[in-house]
Symmetry: C2
Subunit: 112 residues, 2 copies
DNA sequence: TGTTTAGTTAGCCACATGGATAACTATCTT
DNA sequence: AAGATAGTTATCCATGTGGCTAACTAAACA
């Protein structure tokens, strides 16, 4: 589960790869079409696709000589949930400012 | 905006750093307390804190000799929104299976 | 004042990452 | 069969990342 989020967040921390995701939410596309808007060599681009596929964010099928790539939505949702969970806990702390003040206070008199 | 998500997602793609976040949603804490559960040297751990701070996920104040670190919630929310937006678009495509079939179909007869 | 404590800075290292080119396979198209 | 198209594989390179130790500064304590 830990490893899962590692590779997921790692995958979407790159602008090229996020752009691919942003394209794929609208529907599947062949490699060459995905590659077109990016000003990098095809092999470099293929590496990005492999990162996405390794992270489980994307899958692909090759028919004839073209490989069609499509999004796998579940991972997106899971990551969103991790963020949501953290936010919820954070929002639950209505005493945030108090907590900070308290923490700083604790520093002044570590002996209690 | 692009760069922003880069550093944010990069920051939370590491398990040590996610653990720090998971701790900080419960309230601020000094460096040494954050470091304690992690089996790595302090300087290595400090690098992680710097990554989090550079990504704007965290801020810190030093009082006396102890530095207290606290979470900055806004970035969490923004990242969550990016994911949410993608999911929404994806979910909007009720014709997903049709789209895939169509994409594969297009491969069979590229000439139209 | 001397000693701990909390954090910081500097420098080193191995490995991962994102880019490139060259050369190749496989599948259409003509 | 020849040529174009779509992708793949291999190899290389610079830079970034995550870890380490050693040595340091600046508070608090005793």
């Amino acid at each position: 589960m830990d490893n899962y989020l590692d590779s997921f967040f790692g995958a979407i921390s790159d602008p090229t790869r996020r752009a691919v995701i942003e394209r794929l939410v609208h529907g599947p596309a062949p490699v060459s079409e995905l590659h077109a808007p990016h000003d990098i060599a095809l092999p470099s681009f293929l590496k990005h696709l492999k990162v996405l596929e390794a992270a489980g964010l994307v899958r692909s099928i090759k028919v004839g000589r073209v490989r069609t790539v499509h999004l796998e939505a579940a991972p997106l949702a899971k990551a969103e949930h991790w963020l949501e969970r953290q936010r919820r806990i954070w929002e639950g702390r209505t005493d945030r400012l108090a907590a900070l003040a308290e923490a700083l206070e604790r520093q002044d008199k570590p002996k209690g």
